[in-house]
């Protein structure tokens, strides 16, 4: 009897250890939210800096106590938007090729290439951008430097390719073959079948991929930091303007900032965090409505 009791107790204890491990994800998420918000909201709560001038300011000069991030928000949004505009069509069509048109061998090769692209660390995209894209932009740019919104858009467009390709490809492959057969039996050509039946049927999966791509673009730091220019002020006015996305603002100055300056870097993180959370909820909704159908 004693032995059985002990065995049972052991099972219970270990089960609870498992439970604890499962909770770590939730705890981490809460802790991250708490720490970032706690530090980031502090300057506004203690009134050491005005939230309004933080959110609407267009200059970031820690030396003269000016911390405006509006131009960074604009930069982040523009860069992300541009990257989506270029990257998403290319990615979806690549996914179409892999899922619908490539033979099994070609499909495998391209899929491997896409996985490899996903595995390349973002810093190397940045190095590539700095070594190739920035000099090219400089050639056509009226400005004195190649680091610009345009260079950032190109680097980000490349970086979201693997995310959007692989998720789109998965959802295209999940479209039942009955739809394709039905379409062919009605005398539709392959291309018509793809564009009129398969793509619409995979819509929600592709949307998820696009939104995750947006998340990746807006959260990208290191690659962008090398090609965006990081000006201390100014809303971008052209494709050749330098930009300073929210992410790079944090990474650039966190190392040496202190006091209000440091807290306002956390505040920058809070703004970024809010963007990401909106994206997360959007993904969650799309996935849910898909299940609902």
């Amino acid at each position: 009897m004693e032995a059985i009791k002990r065995k049972k107790l052991r099972e219970r204890i270990i089960e609870n250890i498992f439970l604890l491990c499962a909770c770590v994800a939730v705890i981490s998420l809460l802790a991250i939210t708490f720490f970032v918000f706690y530090n980031g909201l502090a300057p506004f709560v203690s009134n050491s800096y005005s939230l309004w001038s933080f959110l609407t300011g267009v200059e970031w000069r820690p030396g003269s106590n000016m911390y405006g991030i509006f131009y960074m928000i604009v930069g982040s949004v523009l860069a992300t938007f541009g990257a989506i505009l270029i990257g998403v069509p290319v990615a979806i069509l690549t996914a179409v090729f892999i899922a619908e048109m490539a033979g099994s061998r070609a499909g495998k090769v391209i899929r491997f290439a896409v996985e490899l692209l996903a595995g390349i660390p973002s810093v190397l995209y940045g190095v590539f951008g700095l070594g190739i894209i920035v000099p090219y932009v400089l050639k056509i740019s009226p400005m004195a430097q190649g680091e610009s919104l345009l260079a950032t858009v190109f680097v980000l467009a490349i970086m979201i390719l693997p995310t959007v390709v692989s998720i789109s490809e998965t959802s295209l492959s999940a479209v039942p073959k009955e739809y394709r057969e039905g379409s062919y039996a009605l005398g539709a050509s392959k291309i018509q079948t793809i564009f009129r039946v398969v793509l619409p049927a995979a819509k929600s999966g592709i949307m998820t991929g696009v939104i995750l791509g947006i998340g990746r673009a807006i959260g990208e730091t290191m690659a962008v930091m090398l090609v965006c220019g990081n000006p201390i002020a100014g809303i971008p006015t052209s494709l050749f303007s330098q930009i300073r996305p929210l992410t790079t603002n944090i990474a650039l100055e966190m190392g040496y900032a202190s006091g209000v300056h440091q807290e306002l870097l956390y505040s920058t993180g809070v703004v970024l965090f809010v963007f990401i959370m909106i994206i997360n909820f959007a993904v969650n909704r799309i996935v849910k409505t898909k299940v609902g159908n």
């Binding site: 039942p176 073959k177 009955e178 062919y184 009605l186 539709a188 619409p200």
Partner: protein, 252 residues
Amino acid sequence: MDKKIKFNTKNLDLFYGDFQALKSINLEICEKEVTAFIGPSGCGKSTFLRCLNRMNDLIESVRIEGEILFDGQDINGDIDVINLRTRVGMVFQKPNPFPMSIYENIAYGPKCQGLKDKTQLDKLVKESLIKAALWEEVKDRLNKSALGLSGGQQQRLCIARTIAMQPEVILMDEPTSALDPIATAKIEDLMSKLKKDYTIIIVTHSMQQAGRISDKTAFFLMGEVVEYGETPVIFTNPADKRTEDYITGRFG
């Protein structure tokens, strides 16, 4: 026989890789009749059906030898497959409406052919639905998703969709096997109405169904046509012992 021959196959062999699924099929299928293919699972009847509008093209490892003459033209030769499929429509085992509205489902085929005129499309959709005996049930919700229909309605929608292409032949691959008896009865009813305008070829698991609706029946076994003839003859007085065994339920 005074009826025109629509399909004529000559020594048709079909291989999946190394496996021979069809062995030397010779069949003549007449116009404006219902022809039924019966036989146990895996006997090749569906495979044969899919040869008639080249749906087997979608499977990579398939190799076909022999001739299939459609109105005297070999469809395995250098023909326009898309054109063939507009003339030879197909209804599948599982109802497979597209995830679009009822209207869009029916307008899909004509639109793919380049028909854009709205009034013409409206007319075509209505006519097809009426012919498929579905109009009364769906006329108020043409813009609702087709996936909201019942299984039987979905299948009739698929038939309507096929009719909208104004085909000459309609292939049906066990069209009622996923449906309940009432829905099945409606579809059988529909078939007997449609046969005055269309040549219908149906694969079925149910011998009763074949007996009820078909004019001619072919019995398939192990990739061969064992017997082919007028349905009443096949069912009452089969020439081959194996046909008799199958029909009387001794195997299959």
